[in-house]
């Protein structure tokens, strides 16, 4: 896909992420293969933050390899598909005993908005 033609503006990405409460976080497990898990998302002030169960696979994987991708998408219709992927490194910022919170350091953003696709 000619991604540069269908990407969102920086403001569009920020607004899209700020409105979302769920994301899928992709990580690499200690066995070397990829893994994934839904996470609770909270983005504000240009920072991407999420939380996952502290004893779950994502928190475990990120202790082993902090590289991650945070993926958010919506699919109300084919022409309405939008998505953002935030690549970066996880930094733990909190732990309430049940869940661990992370922020994404050195974020690199990819986005797509099918409404911008030439037809």
């Amino acid at each position: 896909m000619a991604r540069q033609r269908v990407h969102m503006s920086a403001e569009g990405v920020a607004a899209f992420l700020a409105a979302k409460r769920r994301a899928i976080v992709g990580t690499r497990a200690p066995d070397g293969g990829p893994d994934g898990e839904p996470a609770a998302l909270a983005c504000a002030g240009g920072e991407v933050r999420f939380s996952v169960p502290r004893d779950g696979p994502t928190a475990r994987n990120l202790r082993h390899d902090p590289r991650l991708v945070v993926s958010v998408e919506e699919f109300p219709s084919y022409a309405g598909i939008k998505g953002v992927a935030v690549h970066g490194r996880a930094v733990a910022v909190g732990d309430d005993g049940e869940r661990t919170s992370f922020r994404v350091a050195a974020p690199r953003i990819e986005s797509f908005d099918f409404a911008k696709m030439p037809r």
Partner: protein, 144 residues
Amino acid sequence: MAPRLETSAAEDFLRLHTRTFLVTLRPDGAPACHPMVGLWRDGALWLNTYRKSAKVRNLTAEPRVACVVVTDDDEPRFRGVVLRGRAEVVPVEAAPAGRPAPSAARPPGVGADVTQRVRARLAEGKRVLVRIVPETVRLVGEHG
């Protein structure tokens, strides 16, 4: 052969939900995530995408993948299934026989025009089928 799923709940869920996030590894080992439509047939999850896409490049070099299949974000009981296994690119003719090919099924919000275009791209080889046979399966979220 695909292993039996640990729980029938996972298989029941996969039959009814197509919203799939495919996690691959890039050449540098960092994860990438691709929102897709996944169809559960014959003990495997089937995807279709462009042959020249980054995801096909990634999974050809490193076939280990994870798939997170979930409900819509605003579903009151948000839940899903995480599969880990190996992906392979397979010829269109290898689609499960005797029932609709994965390319023939249409997820919500996708018009017949899109489905027809996808089938044409598969037939001409621009799109390919990807089959993922799970090695591990786990439930996530609020399953009954």
